[in-house]
Each structure stands twice: as C-alpha cells, then as structure tokens.
C-alpha cells in the first residue's frame, strides 16, 4: 500500500502526512455520531419524554406537581367512545383517500406510460399539486369549496346541480377532506407507479404480442407483477402519512362541523393545546406512535425486500 515509488515521479507523494490516528472505525464514528446525536436529542428523547408523561396527570399550564397514575390515561383513552369515533373517522379517511389515490394515480400513470410523445411534460404538469405546501393546498380548496362564492358551487349551479355546503355539512365535510387529500397526493402514487411501469422491459410486451396475448392478459401477467411491489411501497408510505393527517384538517375544517372531520392527530392536538391535558395527550400520542411503528415495520420490510432484489 505504501509502495508509491512509480507514482511519486508524477505527483509528490503526500504519504508523510497520513493520519494514523484516524482508523476507519473511529472515522465512521466521527462522521456518524453528530447526525445521530441530533436525532437522539430531537426525535428519540422527546418520544421517551412523552412516554414518561403518559403515565402522569401532568398539565403544561398548571403549576401543581404531577402525579404518577400508571395506566389510567391509557385505560381512559382505550375505553373512551370519543376516541373510538376519531379512530373510525381516521380509518374512513385513510381507506377512502388511499383507495382513491391508488386508483387514480395508477390510471394516470398507465395512460402516461402508453404515450410516446410529451411524457415528460405531462408528468411534470401532473406533479404540481404534490409539491405544494399543505397550507397552500388547504387554502386553495377552502376558497374553491366556499358555500357562497366558491367556484365549485358556481359551476355546479350553472350545470343545474344545485350548491352544497362542502365544508360545513356533516355528511360532506369528511368527503371534501378526502377529495382534497386525493388531489394533492394522487401525483405521488402516479409518480411511483410510472417509475414501475417504465421499468417493464419492452421485450416482454413484444413476446406477448407475438403470442397474441390479450390486452388484459398482458396487464395481469406482465405489467402488474412488475409494478406491484413498487406500488405497495407507495401505498404504505401514503397510508402512514394519511394516518397522521393534521394540517389539511386544521386549515379546511378545524375538525368540524361537530367532530365530523376530527382525525386522531387533530384530537391529540385539541387535548394537548386546547385542553392542556398534557399527560393524556402524551398517552394518546404514544398509542398513535405504536400504530405508526407497526405500519412502518411493514413498509421497511417491503422496502428491504425490494432493495435486495
């Protein structure tokens, strides 16, 4: 390794300046630990603090010392009909939004993948909603769905469909949130499905053409098996994000009307920052984190399988 005699004729060897102190092991530690420390300080430690708080009746605004109450918070939450209601709202939202996004996203990706010209331009255009901040998206739609001067109602009236209270009608509000989330995140599924679709080798289609395979057979036995693993990753990723939805609800409906659009995240926020019941909110949060960890495990496992291929 130190034999640089021939090279030294071209460039002076800096061999004398080598740091023996920095072994690879130490170097790796030196390079990784700052990053891990920051994560530890701002991601892991807070979670453990929340775990500790979840066993107390601590309140962020009261000056009374908190009491250790073991699993009382958890017991209350798991038996509370309110929490069950929020869990069902969240479930409806996740299932509704994700199925719509998957269906639409995959359809658009499939249609784009069949075009030869203008593919890049089309993809770029379709991706715009995804890059916008949830604040911007929420405001766009709050304006468009406004009952009085919203453009959606205006169009619906001109078409003779009558108008609706999109965000303040108890039956429509959750649907509206689902639609807005779908508008923003369909491009995400589309983008990943498109990556899968363009990875399908052309010769497979050519071979199936020679065999006179039907369109459906080709889709079912060539396209889908190749796109499926990638699509699953996208769907799981979206499911995790949809489960923790907060910002859209905050801007569009504020959880209302009543509690029609109150997701679990929004309920945690209300418990912590409006009710100042910090201990209970922490327990609530810990329960949510457990769900996220389970979902993330599925995600990471599939991801691992995909990467090893």
């Amino acid at each position: 390794m130190a034999d640089t005699a021939s090279a030294s004729q071209l460039t002076p060897p800096p061999a004398a300046r080598r740091f023996r102190l920095l072994s690879d092991r130490r170097l790796a530690g030196l390079f990784i630990s700052p990053a891990l420390l920051l994560l530890l300080f701002l991601s892991i430690f807070p979670l453990f603090w929340a775990l500790y708080l979840s066993f107390t009746d601590y309140s962020a605004t009261r000056d009374v010392p908190s009491r250790w109450i073991w699993f009382e918070n958890y017991g209350d939450l798991l038996t509370s009909p309110q929490v069950h209601e929020r869990a069902i709202t969240t479930l409806i939202f996740v299932v509704g939004a994700i199925s719509l996004q998957t269906l639409l996203g995959f359809t658009i990706a499939y249609l784009i993948s069949r075009r030869v010209r203008g593919r890049g331009l089309l993809t770029t255009l379709f991706l715009v909603p995804m890059m916008l901040s949830p604040v911007v998206v929420g405001l766009f739609w709050k304006f468009m769905l406004d009952a009085q001067f919203g453009v959606i109602n205006s169009f619906a009236t001109s078409l003779g469909l009558g108008s609706a209270e999109w965000l303040t009608d108890e039956r429509l509000a959750l649907l509206s949130v689902i639609v807005v989330d779908t508008w923003q995140w369909t491009p995400f599924i589309m983008l990943i499905a498109l990556a899968g679709l363009t990875a399908v080798p052309k010769y497979l289609y050519e071979a199936s053409e020679i065999d006179r395979a039907s369109e459906w057979f080709r889709f079912r036995h060539i396209t889908l098996p190749i796109v499926w693993p990638l699509l699953l990753i996208a769907v799981l990723f979206r499911a995790i994000e949809a489960f923790r939805l907060f910002d859209l609800v905050y801007i569009l409906t504020g959880g209302g009307p009543g509690a029609a659009t109150e997701t679990l995240s929004f309920h945690v926020y209300k418990t912590a920052f409006l009710g100042f019941d910090t201990g209970r909110a922490s327990a609530y949060g810990v329960l949510m984190v457990i769900v996220v960890i389970v979902l993330a495990q599925f995600y990471l496992r599939y991801l691992n399988r995909l990467q090893e291929r």
């Binding site: 090279a7 790796a28 979670l47 911007v136 405001l139 801007i251």
Partner: protein, 304 residues
C-alpha cells in the same frame, strides 16, 4: 430498386389488403380510436388536476369585485397586480414570514447537509455494526406523527427558551430533514465506486483526503439535489411552525399565510397572492430536481 427486393406474391397481397380490410387494418383502426380516447381522458384529468392552481393564480390577479363574482368568472376578468403589491407592502402580515422562512429553510438545509453528507458517506463505505437496522431506524424517526412529537418538543423548548425563536425551528427542521438527507445521499455515494477512493489512498492520501479530493467533487450534483429537496420540505412545513413559533418575530410563511383566514373577513385576493408567491419558488426548485423526484418524495428510499 426496392421493389425488386420484394417477392412478387407478397407485394400483390399488400395491394389486395387495401381493397378488402384484413384483420390487421381493423386492429390498427381500433388502436387509433383507443389512442384518441386515452388522450382525451388524460386531458380531462390534467385539466382537473391543474384547475385549482390556475384558479388560485387567476384569483391573485383578479379585481376585488371579480373574485366574489357569481357565477365565477373564468376568462373575462380585469387584471390587477394590487394583491401582489399588498403581499410585499410594509404593513403586510406575511412579508416578515417570508423573511423568516428563507432564514429557517436555508439554515436548516445547510445544517442537515453538513451533518447528513458525512454520515451518508460513512454508512456507504464502512462496515458498521447493524448498519441496516441503524438506517431503517433513522428513516423511521421521520414517520412519527408531528403533532405527537411537538408536545414534548414544546415542553423541552419552553425549558430551554427556544420557543418562538428561529433557532428552535432551524434545529427541529434539521432533525426532520436528516433522515431524508442520509438516505438520499447514501444512494448517491453508493453510485461512486469505492475503488476511486482506494486508488487515491494507494497514492498516499488518507481516507478523509481521498473523500475530500475524489468523492466529494463527484457528489456535488447529488448534494445539490438533496439540498433542494430539504429546502422544499422545510419551506413547506406547517405543524412545527404553527406550534413552536407563533409570535410575529419568528413566524414563518406557512402559519403567517394560514393566519390570513383567521379573521372575520377574509381578503381572498391577498391569500391567493401570498399562496402563489409562496408556492412559486417551490415549483421552480422542484422543476430543477425533477430527475430525482422519485427518490426525493420517498425520502430516498426508492431509487430508479
């Protein structure tokens, strides 16, 4: 000349095919109809997807009266730049937010890059115990619900005096972008052959020098793309911003813009103009890194 190359029988068959349609022609025609249907469908979907953006752009340019016109005016409205002027006026409630956003997004991106790039390089090059578990663990911190994380962070920041400071936001955004930066950069480092560094080390450079002189220059485009994504993520972030920095001094643009709809009367022209001003740089940046979008939006997990 070319005619001579083709056997006579085949050529005459081709001519016969034109007078009486053979299955091939029917199939071709059906394919063309299908193509038109597909293009029509794509156009409709594209219009639906883009309409809200176009509508907001129109609203930001419309005269105050035309904004609330019923039925809505799509094409014939009087154009004005007043709303954009209001966004940057001295008494504007959002202009301070934009300044803070630039500081917070910029600094947190720099910090995340400075911490993330060396870590990604180390994860890519060295044998590290339980490397895969560490990497998956790092990624999973990004999945935590922000509303849950913000509760203990809020208490912690209150004790440390970081509430309502840009520094507090910069730190939390760096932590929030770090998993992404590490995963994304590890992909880019993996693409640079380790042999380059080994060759440099044979020439007598130390590991660090080899990284600095050989690998780092090759990573510049990757670092740029990663930084742009981190910039977009911090720029767009809302939950931490609204809970950790609600005072005017440290408030970033997203809560400031959201604050515009808090009052009893809402100036939708100003909201639209602020939202467009806020979204414009994101769209430009996203366009610059469009090649890396798949990796970017999956936090560096999926690479194609």
């Amino acid at each position: 000349m070319a005619v001579n190359l083709q056997p006579r029988e085949v050529a005459s068959e081709g001519i016969a095919g034109e007078t009486a349609p053979v299955p091939g022609v029917v199939r071709r025609r059906r394919r063309r109809v299908r193509g038109i249907v597909e293009i029509a469908l794509l156009t409709v979907l594209a219009v639906i997807m883009l309409f809200p953006v176009v509508w907001m752009l129109e609203t930001s340019l419309k005269d105050q009266r035309d904004i609330y016109a019923v039925p809505a005016k799509v094409f014939d409205f009087s154009v004005t730049l007043d709303h954009f002027k209001n966004v940057f006026a001295s008494d504007s409630p959002v202009v301070e937010g934009f300044k803070n956003s630039v500081i917070v997004a910029g600094s947190s991106t720099i910090l995340a890059t400075l911490l993330g790039v060396p870590a990604a390089w180390a994860y890519s090059r060295f044998k590290i115990r339980a490397k895969k578990d560490q990497l998956f663990f790092i990624l999973s911190t990004r999945f935590m619900p922000p509303v849950v994380v913000v509760i203990p962070i809020f208490l912690m920041y209150r004790d440390l005096g970081l509430i309502d400071t840009t520094l507090g936001l910069i730190l939390i955004y760096s932590a929030f972008n770090l998993p992404f930066t590490i995963w994304m950069m590890k992909g880019f480092v993996d693409e640079v052959p380790a042999e380059y560094e080994e060759a440099a080390m044979l020439d007598g450079y130390s590991r660090v020098e080899a990284f600095h002189r050989v690998t780092l220059p090759l990573l510049v485009p990757g670092i740029a793309a990663t930084a742009v994504f981190a910039l977009i993520f911090s720029w767009n972030e809302f939950v931490f911003a609204v809970f950790l920095a609600s005072s005017d001094a440290a408030r970033t643009a997203p809560p400031a813009i959201a604050g515009l709809i808090g009052g009893t009367t809402i100036d939708w022209g100003l909201v639209a103009a602020s939202a467009m001003t806020f979204a414009f740089p994101v769209l430009v940046f996203a366009f610059l890194v469009r090649k890396h979008l798949v990796a970017g939006v999956t936090l560096g997990a999926v690479r194609r």
